[in-house]
Symmetry: C2
Subunit: 300 residues, 2 copies
């Protein structure tokens, strides 16, 4: 994700702007200058964030603390899609101690860990987090519940489609006519995507585009196709016995709708990058940086 910006303590422009792929620190500029400690615990930061989410706090949510003690002083925040070992490592090197991740840390939606007892991959990650006092908090249900949905609007903004957002039908935009191939090229460039799966026709014209980042499930994805009858559905991930089979049958019948499957992580990453200015506006003086976990996959 190009364009990640780190805003140091105090105000915009004071911090270190660095390559998101490299090693970064959250210290302010100036040799010998001691990084100012923000006078806030991680728990207080969480409470401040949740206070702006409609209907929050939720009784049932996966947005819980996955690791660490939130009562420690907040040193700096890293937003990301997945708290991978690599992201944790970069967070430690950056001097931050709070990772806000959109997705699970321990390889299952509920972040249950009983089934991972004694697993060395789990043990390594747990030790890495604990030995450095890193707090990981999931920010999934809350961010999707903000209005507009923080992930969705981050994606629309990355694509230049935020101006077409309609709160009455948030998951569809009507864009100036372009081909499916042009949408593919735009998504690749704007979202840093290498390759994607698709069904349809690259030369087909499209204007009505349903955008569903992440993994909404077959009934939601097919439901949106039925409700909006779009020219194109863009999703992050799907079950290959659900939406893709529906679209394959659509394609065999007289209607035409194309499908782009971006990949789960890359489809939502812009929404976690968009969280940075949102946090800056609410947690004045707290260093916040997006470190992309990026695409896990290559293509062969």
């Amino acid at each position: 994700m190009a364009g990640s910006s780190f805003l140091g303590p105090g105000a915009r422009g004071e911090g270190v702007l660095s390559d998101a792929q490299g090693e970064e620190t959250l210290a302010t500029k100036g040799a010998g200058e001691t990084a100012r400690r923000v006078e806030m615990t991680i728990r207080q930061a969480i409470d401040r964030i949740v206070a702006d989410i409609p209907g929050a706090p939720f009784k049932t949510t996966v947005d819980t603390v996955k690791s660490g003690n939130p009562d420690q002083a907040l040193m700096g925040i890293v937003t990301t899609m997945f708290a991978t070992d690599e992201v944790i490592d970069k967070t430690i090197k950056a001097g931050a101690n709070f990772i806000i991740a959109h997705e699970p840390t321990f390889y299952n939606h509920q972040d249950e860990t009983d089934w991972l007892a004694g697993d060395r991959v789990y043990d390594f990650k747990k030790a890495l987090l604990e030995s450095h006092g890193i707090v990981v908090w999931r920010f999934h249900d809350y961010w999707h519940s903000f209005r507009p949905d923080g992930i969705l609007m981050g994606v629309y903004t990355a694509l230049g489609w935020d101006k077409y957002y309609n709160s009455g039908a948030p998951e569809i935009v009507t864009v100036p006519e372009m081909t499916v191939g042009e949408v593919v090229a735009l998504a690749k460039k704007a979202m840093g995507i290498d390759k994607m799966k698709m069904i349809g026709d690259l030369s087909a014209k499209c204007q009505r585009i349903v955008v569903m980042p992440g993994s909404g499930g077959g009934r939601a994805q097919i439901g949106a196709l039925r409700k909006y009858q779009p020219d194109l559905l863009i999703c992050g991930e799907l079950n290959e016995w659900e939406t893709s089979e529906y679209v394959r049958d659509v394609w065999y019948q007289v209607q035409k709708v194309s499908l782009l499957v971006l990949g789960h992580a890359v489809s939502e990453e812009p929404g976690m990058e968009a969280l940075v200015p949102w946090l800056n506006a609410r947690l004045t003086g707290v260093p916040v940086k997006h470190i992309p976990s990026g695409d896990a996959f290559g293509w062969v």
Copy 2:
């Protein structure tokens, strides 16, 4: 899937061998010859098949009749992964009336259809099936419960790895040392795969390979990684917040395991092709043909 063979009524070689992608008929050779009707109902064929599955019939299974009246006379069987509109059309043109599909017909695992009421894509498929009296039966749980697992052994056979099958640890084979890249090339050629997702190193050597076609879920896939500590995991489909994230973390740590994600349909297709001779051995005189539903996706 190259090499699909149609065996006409009677015996091997009597029927029409044709391109699996083209239009086929299940009639025997010879102008004016009337296709012999097999003296068996579809229900009797199902009962004969299920009789050879250990522990069957199952009280709870998705392997139910999805469409049509199984008490009609069996004219011919088509095996496939998905009973897509296209496969149904080809079945009709081939003069068969019984589709044995591994995966759901109506875009959800349980083939529930209440949520599709009034949907024109569903209505089209339903009318296509009903107007031609086509019976669709799912053969998923039963085929996986045969020993050796019919899908798994079909895949091993396609890859030339059936000789390494070990009933004590069916999901892992130990093959002569080859690189991950060589496995990719083999899988592409043997299984008709265009492109796949991967994590790992194409030049890494591998011998211990876990093969899990289809969509086994994160706990099963990760469980196999823990149990066997293989060099390579080959799966059909995964949830992108589960196994791939685990493997990404493995990769960041000292251990190395590569992951190939073939795609769900193409990962199991050889197992439904392998069903043809299995049926021929049990339903003498019944025309049986594999019509591949193939990969729904293209790659851009």
